[in-house]
């Protein structure tokens, strides 16, 4: 029999559960140097930010009819800002915000 420390455990055959709506073991919000900021009144729901985000960090809130940003996973690539058709999105330096703190012990 072997002693396997908790942090080194690997499931049998390296078969892991599939994520459902997000992969909480790989939080990527701490990759950002800049974040996208939205002025909702300028947004015409062209959906570009939603379709073009590689990290699925923009979603449509159909109740409020507005796009919602996911700070937990946004890596700050700013494709959304670049592809925004109405200049509703702009970039802002991450240190200007108190929120969005992730502070992992290790990068993953």
């Amino acid at each position: 029999m072997f002693i396997i420390p908790k942090e080194k455990e690997v499931p049998l055959g390296c078969i892991t559960p599939a994520p459902v709506t997000e992969q909480p073991m790989m939080i990527t919000g701490n990759w950002r140097e800049y974040r996208p900021v939205i002025e909702q009144e300028k947004c015409n729901l062209c959906m570009n930010c939603i379709v073009y985000c590689p990290d699925a960090c923009w979603q449509l809130n159909e109740v409020e009819d507005e796009v919602v940003w996911n700070a937990k996973y946004c890596k700050g690539c700013l494709i959304c800002v670049n592809e925004c058709t109405t200049e509703a999105l702009s970039k802002a330096y991450e240190l200007d915000f108190e929120d969005g703190v992730v502070r992992l012990e290790k990068p993953f």
Partner: protein, 397 residues
């Protein structure tokens, strides 16, 4: 009622796969294993076997196809020989590490150069450390039986390992022998339907094989090591059931022949065991106290059983049909493992190895007499002069 037939090893293996209701088969031609696939192709064409018969574009693809199929929940079979076995080498570790219990029939063939189609165990032996179960058949009957036994053991959720089910090319694969074909009901009683704990199923999504950190690599290795520690108990169970259901008397790991009062023995696996038995019978009639120990599973290696079986002899001659160039014994691989098994015994027999049957060369009775002579000499001199004897090519014994 079981019925008796005369079948080649390839045909016997095909019959076993059919009775195991194999579901996905992947072929690629190479001698001498090819007839296995020819037989299965006929069965599928005739509607006797409901399976997907996939023409792989090479051995690497063969193993890849059955990996995918087995991971998706189908019982699978593939096979190869010689350089085909080594061409697929990349796939062996992922299959074993992913714990996907595919079965591969290997009919041995010498590796190139040049194109020698004779049998030699080096093809399969080169793959022995990847985590697969592995063993050799002596005759078509064992080829048939080992197929079923290996499915049962490999697919057991306590084991979940792929299986190399080996037979000597030509000698076993091509020369027909007597095979008792059991009833389908017997096979069904012995071999439960195939299930995998976490198959690729959209109704129950899982991820197979994400990356790990280097410090977790040991754990993946430990899992395979553990499976090989757990497998022997499952093998014993399977063999006991097999003997009960099919009326056989297999030992799980090592079989002995005329060893009760023997001073010396051959340690051997595969086809040439049969000739060795007859050699022993003749030697016995001349008063030579010799017996034989046959290995049924090379992986997991039955350390204790080998030690117990061999400890009673004064000298053991390991018949090697594979090469390990530059190895510690300067011959094949078997003697390494035999000596390692004996090392902790207070009383160890003298051991040496005999390179015989390489490249598919025959190993006739007289070769075994020669080996017995060397063993007698070792006992007389009380020491091992050489760890390797190239039978038929030695300037001095």
């Amino acid at each position: 009622m079981a019925k008796e037939m005369v079948l080649s090893g390839c045909a016997a293996s095909a019959q076993a796969a059919k009775m195991a209701k194999v579901e996905v088969i992947c072929s690629y031609p190479i001698r001498p294993y090819t007839a296995l696939m020819m037989e299965l192709a006929k069965m599928v064409a005739n509607g006797e076997l409901d399976a997907e018969f996939i023409y792989g574009e090479g051995e690497h693809a063969q193993l890849s196809v059955v990996l995918g199929a087995s991971a998706a929940g189908a019982r699978v079979l593939t096979g190869s020989s010689g350089v085909g076995v080594t061409y697929a080498f990349e796939t062996y570790s992922p299959i074993a590490g992913g714990r996907v219990p595919v079965q591969m029939m290997i009919a041995d063939r010498a590796l190139d150069p040049p194109g020698d189609f004779g049998s030699e165990h080096t093809d399969a032996m080169s793959c022995r450390d990847q985590g697969w179960l592995m063993g050799w058949a002596e005759n078509p009957q064992e080829a048939f039986d080992n197929c079923l036994i290996n499915y049962r053991v490999g697919e057991d959720h306590r084991v979940l390992l792929p299986q190399f089910v080996c037979q000597d090319g030509y000698f076993v694969s091509h020369i027909p022998g007597k095979v008792l074909l059991p009833d389908q009901s017997q096979v069904d009683e012995f071999l439960p339907p195939y299930t995998l704990p976490h198959p690729l199923d959209p109704k129950h999504p899982v991820s197979h094989g994400p990356q790990i950190r280097p410090d977790q690599g040991t754990i993946m290795d430990l899992q395979r090591a553990q499976a090989h520690l757990d497998a022997p108990a499952v093998i014993k169970e399977a063999i006991a059931d097999f003997n009960r259901i099919f009326g056989r008397d297999y030992s799980p790991f090592v079989e002995e022949y005329m060893t009760d009062d023997a001073e010396m023995a051959f340690f051997i696996m595969g086809a040439h065991t049969m000739t060795a038995r007859h050699a022993i019978k003749h030697l016995r009639s001349k008063g030579v106290k010799i017996g034989l120990v046959k290995l049924r599973f090379l992986r997991p290696w039955p350390t204790q059983e080998v030690a117990e079986a061999l400890s009673k002899f004064k000298a053991v001659g390991v018949v090697e049909t594979s090469t390990s160039y530059g190895g510690a014994m300067r011959g094949g691989n078997l003697l390494h493992e035999v000596r390692a098994s004996l090392y902790d015994l207070p009383q160890r027999p003298l051991t040496t190895s005999f390179m015989a049957g390489l490249g598919g060369e025959m190993v006739p009775l007289k070769d075994f007499y020669y080996m017995a002579e060397i063993l007698s000499k070792m006992i007389k001199e009380g020491k091992t002069k050489k760890t390797v004897h190239w039978v038929g090519f030695e300037a001095e014994a």
